[in-house]
């Protein structure tokens, strides 16, 4: 039996549900599933410009594991680009270090600090909100 996978810490969920190519003539139904931790790895390494050591500590995994997640993320994105596939984000082996909510009306993502009593969407005031979890 393989060793249990450690959950990777993700600071915030991606602000999108997926990406779709346009101007494509072949109608491909296939999609690539990009995990939240892979999105986070790309973000930490290439957007926040952290080195792998810092990024791995932030995500609560070892540096080699971080490198593997990062590599898998890059390969998935490359595959999606070359094969013009849609990219979808899925939860994966992550845990959010804070409870993030998503509004089902306007797809806004937000946190609810302790001082806020109302549990509704801060933008459209809808009650139709959901805790981001699988």
């Amino acid at each position: 039996m393989p060793r249990r996978r450690r959950l990777r810490r993700v600071v915030a969920p991606p602000g999108f549900r997926g990406y779709r190519p346009y101007g494509v003539n072949k109608g491909s139904n296939e999609s690539i599933e990009l995990l939240y931790e892979e999105y986070e790895a790309i973000k930490l390494a290439d957007y926040d410009l952290m080195n792998h050591q810092e990024a791995s500590e932030l995500m609560g995994v070892s540096r080699p594991t971080f490198a593997r997640i990062y590599e898998s993320a890059r390969r998935k994105i490359a595959k999606a680009f070359v094969e013009t596939n849609e990219i979808k984000t899925v939860y994966g082996n992550a845990w959010m270090d804070k409870n993030w909510f998503v509004c089902n009306g306007c797809y806004v993502r937000f946190t609810i600090p302790k001082t806020v009593k109302k549990h509704n969407c801060p933008i459209c005031s809808s009650d139709n909100i959901e805790l981001l979890k699988q």
Partner: protein, 104 residues
């Protein structure tokens, strides 16, 4: 109730900025008085720690809600500590005005 919206310019018609620490301007919107003040972000091109400095500014301004497209890990920790609500909105070419209208 004070809200900050990240903006790329200092007018209401400027597009909303998806970044928090490196946003060009912050629009402080007071829901009670309806006042809108723009603050320039001096740390826009800082090499590091832009998120922390921006979060400190939010605390200084006594903001209760920050609307942006993305938050860095350091900024998030600080905003969490001071119970500032973070809101991530999907960017559809919205302007600051559009975001404020949504709030009403």
């Amino acid at each position: 109730m004070k809200t900050v919206i990240t903006s790329t310019g200092n007018t209401l018609t400027s597009p909303f900025d998806k970044r928090f620490g490196r946003a060009a301007w912050y629009c402080l919107y007071d829901k009670i008085t309806g006042e809108k003040i723009f603050y320039q972000n001096e740390n826009m091109n800082a090499r590091g720690g832009a998120g922390i400095k921006a979060a400190e500014k939010m605390v200084e301004l006594r903001v209760e809600k920050v609307i942006s497209g993305d938050f860095g890990p350091k900024a998030k920790d600080l905003l969490d500590k001071f119970n500032i609500q973070m809101v991530i909105i999907p960017d559809d070419g919205l302007t600051v005005k559009d975001v404020i209208e949504k709030l009403q």
